[in-house]
Symmetry: C2
């Protein structure tokens, strides 16, 4: 990873944002900027300095992983080490904080440790914005994660049948993920059968799959730090014409949104491309969530692909396209791929077919 | 779960804490108080009212799960619904917030939505303190989680041998967990072999287990919402006397700390019981972390079992006892059980033996 370029880009933006330094506290942002993958630390970036603070548990790991920043191991609280470092150097900064991630208590402790001449400012989401556009190495890692993730659905299809518990399907998929090298799942695996398929967040439960219903499978892996995210919905039992036609309405909406993805279009317009198709089919009011979200080091990251959002797509952005319709108490359908925005349109990363499948 | 008792206890404490109402934002606290297991929501508790706010994704789940509180589904931002509710009722509260969990940005949004007569106060950790002492039903669930967790180590012993990758061991354990009904792992499984065993947080990697070293296995499951946490360290290859004696020093320290656990003692004294034994064996300076932590709905929760901590143990508290020693670049050893404080001392929940095992 080109950490020095990422750090340089951030430092260039500090001036434009009217802050002298940024205290990066969100761990995925820290990983993006300097490579540290541990669970505790702060990265301080000013125009001239880059310092990473952590505690003694991470001494060795920080020394090995952190690129382009001085490593300081805190003797006491890590935020105290940050405050002491700034105080010793008599900086009179406007110090940016990541308000969406720093807790109220952390901010208070930080203020106690900081010299009085220093002011805190809510920084714009500089690192999140940079992370939206993936570089070539990130795209390579994301492709690998998506490929591994897709293999889990092949395994699911071998397992899904009437009488099998949802959690048993999840168990087989997660085992496949681990054996394929995944560090873990990118979120709790959703296997939602029967009426549970109408829950957009129906984590795998002890419920047995029964004939005559959909099974929504929404799952993803973390591989080398990057997340995959995919949804397929399969029918169990004798095919119903009503289910089949609803399925193809969702598929058409999903494909319309994918067809809309290209540089220069807003994410709101991608969302409405899916929404229009479902409205025409009479399913508009059953599509109760947004069309997608960015994916990368985090399973949910900017941009939100949702109604009226004005973010403009750029080459290198990676988003999900996942319309769904839900009939509470009956069934639900969702189809989700990951796509990467290219110069001319987009590349669908998810290799799995989308035809109606009955098992 | 006796949610009404928990809510009543909290309401009794509001007055003593000089706040009129508490806005509970930490999800495990929300689950503890009203049963909601979703990933977005706020619970507002005043002396007379209990209201749970969430978004439309969780409409059905909230209606089914939330006990003892009115459910409000926000049309826009959930914090706006909270603010509107308070504003409509013209409350002039001192409103407590959970400063360790609420982000700086959430606090700012909340202030925008709240009426001007309302003041925010950092609340003491009322719910965390209540959660430290587990009731009978919680202890039953924790015992089940610990039993399932312990079965994973039996599986690990079948798999660990030279040439097997650390992640392969983790894959088999996690598969066993899922098949046993676990919702997931309570933290990323640590399988740390060879020199990696000297990393206190050595997540399972692609490294192959080699003869002549320790393998630290630190793992836990989530079952019905409650976490387990256990560590065992096994030797691979021909037994070395030096390794064996170091192992038994850690075991003696761990057992000394367990022997110290009883109502009325401070967690600091439990910590020093372990530390003294390792100091006597000459390993004191290699024991670089604290002795343990509380476990329940979260894998790490109060109390911290660490040097100089003054929290006094009470019956119903559940903590880990996990001393370890680490020789960077060489090897490490950690042994961890979960124990529940009883009226007369403690009950060791973890059933797994602790004798030196060479595979």
């Amino acid at each position: 990873m080109n950490f020095s370029l990422r750090q340089k880009n951030l430092r260039l933006q500090l001036g434009e944002s009217e802050i002298d330094a940024l205290l990066v506290s969100h761990l995925p942002n820290i990983r993006y900027l300097c490579g540290f993958t541990g669970s505790a630390g702060f990265l301080l970036v000013s125009e001239r300095e880059k310092v990473f603070f952590t505690d003694s548990r991470y001494r060795k790991q920080a020394q090995e992983q952190v690129k382009g920043a001085k490593v300081i191991i805190a003797r006491n609280a890590v935020l105290k080490a940050v405050g002491d470092w700034i105080r010793d150097r008599r900086r009179r900064w406007k110090l940016g904080i990541e308000a969406e991630h720093l807790t109220v208590a952390e901010r208070k402790r930080l203020l106690e440790f900081l010299p009085s001449g220093l002011r805190l400012r809510t920084a714009p989401p500089l690192v999140e914005r940079a992370r939206m556009v993936k570089d070539i190495e990130e795209l390579r890692l994301i492709r690998s994660a998506v490929q591994l993730g897709a293999a889990l659905f092949d395994r699911a299809l071998e397992v899904i049948k009437p009488g099998v518990k949802e959690v048993e399907v999840a168990a087989e998929m997660e085992y496949e993920a681990r054996r394929g090298g995944a560090e873990g799942m990118s979120f709790p695996t959703i296997i939602a059968s029967g009426a549970r398929s109408a829950l957009p967040h129906g984590r795998a439960s002890e419920q047995c799959i029964a004939p005559g219903g959909f099974v929504v499978c929404d799952f993803g892996v973390i591989l080398a730090g990057y997340c995959s995210d995919q949804t397929r919905t399969v029918w169990v039992g004798l095919e119903l014409e009503k289910a089949r036609s609803a399925y193809y309405a969702v598929k058409a909406a999903q494909e319309a949104a994918i067809a809309a993805v290209r540089p220069g279009i807003t994410v709101g317009d991608v969302d409405s491309a899916a929404r229009k198709v479902l409205a025409k089919s009479g399913f508009g009011r059953y599509f109760t969530h947004s069309t997608g979200h960015g994916v990368g080091l985090e399973i949910h990251e900017p941009p939100r692909v949702a109604a009226a959002q004005t973010e403009v797509l750029k080459p290198g952005m990676v988003i999900t396209i996942e319309p769904g319709i839900y009939f509470p108490g009956e069934w639900g359908i969702r189809i989700e791929d990951m796509v990467a925005v290219t110069d001319g349109g987009c590349e669908v990363l998810t290799p799995t077919g989308k035809d109606f499948v009955a098992v």
